[in-house]
């Protein structure tokens, strides 16, 4: 599996074309898809996160690495579903109602996928009902909300209240993020965690899921 080190490199350097080709080859040769994820993709995205943390990578590099990772994951995902293997956790993610700025959300979403989570991306301007449906129907165990603006941040509280009223609040851990969000705000509205960047969001999600077990 010497050639698979190249898959790791393709993701770290953000080469989507070669990530896809290498994954196709590996699968054709009968490599276990779970091994591809555990041994190559997760470590690659961890490295991307480390480079980001060390300030060597920034938003553009994160975006292209995420794209390479997704190209590979798209091939692997159906095989895993067929085998019925369970992900680390299921995260329903979206920008809250009234907010349309989704670059931060997309980065977190990609890093979570790269970190071995199943991500249910609800998109932008997501009303509370959609988060509730993701918990009830898709069995999400973590809800991740993002808001860029101080005005739309208020929808996070509305969403948490709606989860409470729908009786699903205790089924999930809630994490929030976005330019205007602070730890203090997270505490104030009763969220379980706050992260100010895409990389630490993965560590946060892992902690939250571990606390659920």
């Amino acid at each position: 599996m010497e050639g698979l080190k190249e898959l790791y490199d393709a993701i770290v350097t953000g080469n989507a074309k070669s990530a896809k080709a290498l994954t196709e080859n590996a699968l054709a040769e009968g490599v276990d898809p779970q091994v591809l994820i555990d041994k190559y993709m997760i470590p690659a995205m961890d490295e991307v996160g480390r480079l980001f943390e060390a300030n060597e990578y920034y938003v553009p590099e994160l975006l292209i690495s995420a794209r390479a990772m997704k190209a590979s994951l798209q091939l692997i995902r159906p095989l895993l579903t067929a085998k019925g293997s369970e992900p680390q956790g299921r995260v329903a993610i979206g920008t809250v109602k009234g907010d349309l700025h989704d670059i931060g959300k997309n980065l977190v979403s990609a890093m979570l996928e790269g970190g071995g989570f199943e991500v249910i991306d609800l998109g932008v301007d997501v009303p509370p009902e959609k988060f509730i449906a993701a918990i009830q129907e898709k069995k999400a165990t973590v809800v991740a909300m993002s808001a860029l603006l101080t005005t739309t941040m208020l929808s996070m509280k509305t969403t948490i209240d709606a989860l409470q009223n729908a009786g699903v609040r205790n089924r999930v851990k809630i994490m929030i993020g976005g330019a205007a969000v602070t730890q203090r705000y997270a505490d104030e509205i009763g969220a379980d965690g706050f992260s100010d960047n895409a990389n630490s969001a993965v560590a946060l999600a892992r902690r939250l899921v571990a606390a659920q077990a």
């Binding site: 938003v59 553009p60 907010d99 349309l100 997309n106 932008v124 101080t150 705000y185």
Partner: protein, 525 residues
Amino acid sequence: MQEMSGGHGMTIHERVRIHLEPLGEIFEVDRETPLKDFLFDHGVEFPCGGLGICSGCKVRVLAGSLPVTTEQEEMLTPAELRDGWRLACSCGADEDLTLELAQWEAPVLTDETPFQFTPREGLGVAVDLGTTTIAAQLLDLRTGQVLAVQTALNEQARYGADIMNRVLFAMNEGEASTLASLIRKQIGEMIAGLIFPAKPVRRTDRLRADVVNVVIVGNTAMHHLFCGIDIEPLSHYPFDALNDGLQLFLSRDLDWGIPGDPPVRFLPCIGGFVGSDILAGVMAVRMHESEPLISLVDLGTNGEIVIGNRQKMLCASTAAGPAFEGARIGMGMRAATGAISEVKISGEKFRCHVLGNVQPRGICGSGLVDAAASALDLGLIAESGRLANGGAPISLCPPVVISQADIRELQLAKGAIATGFRILLNRLGATPEDISRLHLAGAFGNYINIYSARRIGLLTLPPSRIHPAGNTALLGAKLALFMPDDEAFSRVARTITHIPLSADLEFQELFAGEMRFPSASPSGF
């Protein structure tokens, strides 16, 4: 407020003495007065409106003491706290204090550009109502001559320096009318100052005729907060204003008491947050009459871009972030004394120009753009934005450095503008070569070095096509004073289409590309 009761029911307010550096101002206030209440009058802005969620209003205690609260601990580093930095918004004056301000009043840009007009009788007043600053001019409508100028910081800014924080404040019960009264009163006083100056230099000239016309321009939030229109729809997607059309008042409706009771017009908005300041800018650069494509770019916290000609005009606003105004930059400051405003390379070294020829204490937007351009040329910054030397800060001129985080902020700001520009061009089916002139509006556009702007990839047109245009909002408002009918403004506003960038599917992909730095300045056409 602490009060001491005297023996006969008399109340004495204890006073404390405040000394502000580097302004050198000394005055007294009542003990326990919140710092916010008096610092604003001395030019200190409260970017988040005093919520304690940014550190923009920080001041340094040079003498006396201010307690460290939990808010302070959350927003400031232990080193800053040790050095005496505090958030002004969460402190009161409990004793005599000497404070160093991290920011103070910057000059407000007005306009003296000559323009063509058809003379009419009387005097007119043009007002550019900005989120941060206000500029007003009194004109003789027979000669087009500017008779008097007034500038000020927008008093609403104490309730939130940027638009979204202002909107957030206005959504609290009753506060929209607080803001409306505040701004109406302030502009009323500025106009009174134009007509009845404290020192009557040319008073007789000015009073020979009545004011017949007042025109105000501003972004959509300023429009709503002045006119008393519900601002809630501007707080969230899809940012559709209830009524962003031309608003007509009589001077007496606003309690202004201007002789002759002239009509007051707030010009119509374009769409989203793009308001009549940009509409006025479009009229000032005559885009609506131009045959070839031209562009108007206002580089501020909300960077606004318009591209078009007499047939079709598209506009967009980008949340460029405050990097161009020196905010969120480690040693960033406004273009004031002590700011590095220009950086050049001499030999292999940086040569910095410091405003006021004093020891440098920070860097303003134009200095930052220059510094990045020079550092790119010296190979100290990679195209990805990564600093060479393992990310160690670049020393410009001691003690001023630029850090990796500063360059990242700059990448976000310039990337957002460049992406907006590209998306509008794509929608028009045009290329940069098709743009015959690009007008850079606003204070920053006046000071930025065009070669540096090209080097960092903020602008790509050849220098010969880029023109600093000054305060085009104020110039456009003056032109509007001479326009015969209201339909004229609305007609121009209707020909401009607002493109919401965050809804554009290409945005993320293009933004990722535009955040990078080019390997060299783009070549001319």
